[in-house]
Amino acid sequence: MNIPGNLLYTKDHEWARIEGKIAYIGITEYAQHSLGDITFVELPKSGQELKQSSYCATVESVKAASEVFVPLSGKVISVNSQLSKNPELINQSPYDQGYFFTMEFSNAAEKNNLMDAKAYETYLESISK
């Protein structure tokens, strides 16, 4: 399972990549694999204010629909417009081309509520038992 070292993770299998004041948001390899072929994604709007752990997006696969929760509080800057036509990018490249949106996060201290790669890996092992 691919768990990049430079990301922060949630228990709901979202990730955040911090670049200065901006965070890229997406779902993990584990999440895309459990969902199966992703066929649709509903993203938040640019400018939308989101609170940590609140609903931010829906992903639909052939099998089911799932809600996605935002790892950090802040304002949505831009969404990944590629996903509306090619949601399979989330399956193919969950940490890169399949990111969901970027946001300007408002409270850096919230990062402490997230897991680093090592902690997420341990968490995945614990839930797979």
Partner: protein
């Protein structure tokens, strides 16, 4: 049978473009020796079986006396008085009891599900692949006919039938040979294994009903839009109720609808006409061939093709349009390539 092997979308498209094998061993099969005139078999089924030539098969229903569908099934005429019935796995035990109750004492009914394996080979290349294993005479099978073939010195039955809308074959074979045949089929690099997930999306694109979801004992074939598999010129259990329903115009009807987006309607979502709930989604999915959400469900009222409706569920709203079935219109897909007219 697994939900998927390499992924539902890839398996779906491979079946439409090449050929897949499905492990359908869970289905129920009955062997029946029954004289047409005295057994009562004709009364138990809605399809006309008297006119069936030996070597043909026919789709239809077993109904209760309220015309509710107990099961949908395909009957095979093996000889004048010998039949095979292929029924759904979940209903096998109840179907057996129903047949036992309604067939005369002289008929011999045998549940052969446990010793019968079933592999479906479906897709435009299915004939080419099976010719290599079973020989050229498989070319002679017309749609909804079958014949005996042999594999590893064991008899098997192959019919040109399926649940995908593609050219395809269903193979009934002794359990102990099924695994060998599966492995041999997969040695052909054109063939890939396909799971239950794409079996569902493939059948839904063709608007084929799934028993327990789109049809069950609460609805008649009339409500489900499947009256063409009912022969009203004969007597059958449920006929009276169906005729009554026909006269009164049945209350609920199964409709097909297509989303204007990639969003999937799902089983159990509500169907709305503006602010009024008119029904429930029985089957819904993303259509891999059409790249939009599709579904079907029973509604109260008359909603012809083109009507705009709204599907609601899990705080999702999906605008849809009623369409005629099937969702996927295929040109001659059920015919082998050599029979197709040049475009």
């Amino acid at each position: 049978m697994p939900i998927q092997y390499q992924g539902i979308l890839a398996e779906h498209l491979h079946t439409r473009q090449a050929v897949s094998v499905f492990d359908i061993c869970h289905m129920g099969e009955f062997l029946l020796e029954a004289d047409l005139a005295e057994s009562g078999l004709d009364r138990v089924l809605t399809q006309n079986i008297i006119s069936m030539p030996v070597g043909s098969c026919r789709y239809g229903f077993m109904l209760n006396d309220k015309a509710g569908v107990l099961d949908d099934l395909v009957i095979y005429r093996i000889n004048e008085n010998k039949w095979m019935l292929v029924v759904n796995a979940a209903t096998t035990a109840d179907d057996y009891k129903h047949l036992e109750n309604h067939l005369s004492g002289l008929s011999r009914l045998q549940n052969i599900s446990d010793k019968t394996g079933k592999l479906d080979v479906q897709g435009p290349l299915s004939l080419e692949v099976l010719k290599n294993i079973f020989g050229k005479q498989i070319e002679n099978l017309n749609y909804y006919t079958f014949a005996k073939f042999s594999f590893e010195q064991e008899d098997c039955i192959i019919s040109r039938t399926g649940y995908t809308g593609e050219l395809g074959y269903e193979i009934y074979i002794a359990n102990e040979c099924a695994k060998k045949l599966w492995d041999l089929l997969l040695k052909d690099e054109r063939v890939k294994p396909a799971g239950l997930g794409c079996r569902d999306t493939l059948r839904l694109e063709m608007s084929y009903p799934l028993y327990g979801q789109d049809i069950d004992r609460n609805y008649s074939p009339l409500a489900a839009g499947l009256a063409k598999f009912v022969d009203f010129n004969k007597n059958f259990i449920g006929k009276e109720a169906m005729l009554k329903e026909k006269d009164s115009g049945s209350l609920k009807r199964l409709i097909c609808f297509k989303a204007d987006s990639r969003r999937s309607p799902r089983h159990g979502f509500a169907i709305f006409d503006q602010d009024k709930q008119i029904g429930i989604v029985t089957s819904g999915s993303f259509s891999p061939s059409l790249s939009v959400g599709i579904g079907m469900g029973y509604v109260l009222g008359d909603y012809p093709a083109g009507s705009s409706l709204l599907i609601k569920g899990n705080s999702i709203e999906i605008p849809v349009k009623v369409v005629k079935k099937p969702f996927l219109v295929k040109n001659n897909s059920l015919k082998p390539a050599f029979l197709k007219q040049p475009a």
